[in-house]
Point group: C2
Chain length 204, copies 2
Amino acid sequence: MASNSLSFQTLQRLPYYLDYLREVETENVSSTVIAAEFGLHEVQVRKDLASVSKLAGRPRKGFDTQSLIRDIEEILGYGHVDEAVIVGVGHLGMALANYAGFGKYGLRIVAGFDTRITQEESLNEMPLYPMEELESVISERKIRLGIITVDGANAQAVCDQLVAAGIKAVWNFAPVILQVPEDIIVQNENMACALAILSHHLRK
Amino acid sequence: MASNSLSFQTLQRLPYYLDYLREVETENVSSTVIAAEFGLHEVQVRKDLASVSKLAGRPRKGFDTQSLIRDIEEILGYGHVDEAVIVGVGHLGMALANYAGFGKYGLRIVAGFDTRITQEESLNEMPLYPMEELESVISERKIRLGIITVDGANAQAVCDQLVAAGIKAVWNFAPVILQVPEDIIVQNENMACALAILSHHLRK
DNA sequence: TAGATTGTTAATCGATTAACAATC
DNA sequence: TAGATTGTTAATCGATTAACAATC
């Protein structure tokens, strides 16, 4: 029965469950089946589901598939679209901006910014602005999520500008740890961290 | 004093420490200073460093900067270059293939594969092959790391092919959990998981 | 009733943090 | 010597797993 706080780990598993629930065609789904599908521990899945579902699961049957889908979608904020801006329109920034899949996850990147842009232009229907426009675009459109795809040396400065403009969450692809006020959340996507684990494994 | 096993968490922090150590110009560096730089707990950093450094830290002074850099580089396998192939040369695949920064981390992407490729061609000096060539390229060049940037529906099949060809580690950007033999390591880079955390935070 | 599945309470595990003695 | 910093041992914390009673 939906509790009020979810662990980081649980939140990260929800998108997987959701994908599976959308595919499955049965009326009910049990923790046992989902756990087997993903190679997770049954009790872990049961706890995850219990903490997000409004409708309790039923012994012998499991959870109601449709209701569970709605509950997870609500928690992940799919359906409700979040608007984001992206700063740094190099290879990675473009890949993200072009990535059609985000729509499915309730994310829309509505504008790009880059120091190399001198006047408004557009990339696949997404407007690109010079850095000077950052604050006005964010505050006018009340955008709350900023994606940083500039290089490490410039990431903190960009982050400060985003925060000053009123952003509430930052998705950081630069290989640095950003310093932000307490109420701002930062999600780091650092390729070097992932590589560290892979390389170390290969070296053994 | 370098122990034999490192936690996942420690490994992920090492690239940050390394960046900082390379920048700093002093002969010695203390855990205290690094902790302050990154907003981490002092003891956590000290434990991390103790577990990777061959030379013990010295009271009052800290660790020898150069020696620490070498130790971390060795553990992360920088210097020694890992070769990788990438399967799926769409936007994301190209962004990764073009990303110059990987060289710095000891990674070289030596070939790309895609179902849309029908005969060998090249992208910025990197050869692209049809899927049929996957096994022969990997086994001939003894490549041990495979990067998956195909869509979710095809990721497991690609993964199976990579494993069959002899890959030891998989870096997976598709939003699915891959099933692999026990001795293969998979590192997931799932944008939906990151977004789950950000969205949930914004929703509160 | 028997059996599958739920939810809960307790045990385990790994990582972080606290406390403190050792050292230069 | 005093003080900064180390390394180590114990306490805490969060997440996972085990054990088990409740239910349809």
